[in-house]
């Protein structure tokens, strides 16, 4: 029996039950998981998970979960992507239009891609996100008062 793999599986279950299940959409889960990765080294860390299991187990569990959530988002339909992105950008106290400009200008979604993912999936993900942003921008232009009220 592979005890390391078993421990990783348990850690993933724990992560899903305690943390990820409380985050509403896959896109938000993706952003959260990417935020647990060190920008310099690419290593994942989560204190709670590391204490319950071990650092290598926690890091591996986070990486696997990151990949899985990434795939869910990358292969979601465009309509679902637009909805998720809209929810995500609207979550910041009604500053949706500002968030929209920031996401289009700085492209922060590029850093949420896991390192082991294949290039084509990454291209599809980036293309869908950019396209979803274009759709949201178009919708905002056509109904400015509704967006402002939101």
């Amino acid at each position: 029996m592979d005890t390391f793999a078993d421990a990783v599986e348990m850690a993933r279950r724990d992560l899903r039950e305690r943390t990820l299940s409380r985050i509403r959409t896959p896109l938000e889960r993706l952003v959260y998981l990417a935020s647990l990765r060190d920008y310099r080294t690419g290593r994942y860390s989560h204190d709670g998970l590391a204490i319950r299991f071990s650092e290598p187990v926690a890091a591996t569990a986070l990486r696997l979960e990151h990949i899985e959530v990434f795939r869910t988002v990358a292969f979601a339909s465009l309509q679902s992507m637009v909805r998720q992105l809209d929810d995500f950008l609207s979550a910041v106290n009604g500053e949706r239009s500002e968030s929209l400009i920031t996401w289009q200008t700085l492209e922060p979604y590029r850093v949420v891609v896991p390192m082991v993912e294949d290039r084509l999936s990454t291209r599809i993900f980036l293309s869908n996100i950019k396209f979803a942003l274009a759709i949201l921008t178009m919708e905002q232009r056509s109904t400015p008062e509704t967006s402002a009220a939101a």
């Binding site: 592979d2 591996t60 465009l78 082991v116 294949d118 999936s121 396209f131 759709i135």
Partner: protein
């Protein structure tokens, strides 16, 4: 001159047909594949069919059409076309890589089976043909609603992997990255 060409074409067609009948019959009688999952052909991450469904399905296109924006429609088709062409190229280079490995193995093997080699060549050429047609269709009319054709190309690639694995069982490539990582072998591409 025209008559000679017609005879040549008819002869070629007949030869291809007979070869196909022979190989298909041989295949039906043939050995059961000892190769677990040969499917992962263009993506070691195991997401090949997901990618294909997304790129060649019509769900996203239906949604974009409903947006009533000519600019977005044009942009969508342009982006998806580029992605679909990349997909075809990735599929082709994976098959080429497999054939390279196979050629290396067969060139050093003392038990070369000519019929098996012929069958592999036939399936490989068939797969390349599907890819070429797919590429042409994508360039002409875009990638939307081509799932059935992609499934045909996919079936060819699966067959290619199966047969190559029967002749020279290779180390099973394309195993899900997740398995490698879970067992501590955290390889990155």
């Amino acid at each position: 001159m025209t008559a000679i060409l017609s005879y040549l074409a008819a002869g070629l067609l007949l030869a291809v047909f007979l070869l196909r009948v022979f190989l298909d019959r041989d295949n039906e009688e043939g050995q059961s594949p000892d190769f677990g999952q040969p499917h992962d052909f263009w993506s070691a991450s195991g997401s090949g069919m997901q990618v294909a469904t997304q790129l060649f399905g019509s769900e996203d296109w239906d949604y974009v059409q409903g947006l009533n924006s000519k600019r977005l429609r044009r942009r969508f088709l342009k982006e998806r076309k580029a992605l679909a062409l990349t997909w075809v190229e990735a599929a082709r280079s994976e098959a080429r890589a497999l054939m390279r490995v196979h050629r290396t193995a067969s060139s050093t093997s003392p038990h070369l089976n000519l019929l098996a080699e012929l069958r592999i060549a036939y399936i490989y050429v068939g797969f390349l043909f599907y890819c070429a047609v797919l590429e042409t269709v994508i360039r002409i009319r875009g990638p939307v609603a081509l799932q059935n054709f992609v499934a045909l190309a996919d079936a060819r690639s699966v067959r290619l992997y199966e047969i190559v694995a029967q002749v020279f069982p290779l180390a099973q490539r394309g195993e899900d990255n997740l398995d490698h990582i879970a067992s501590g072998d955290a390889g990155q591409r």
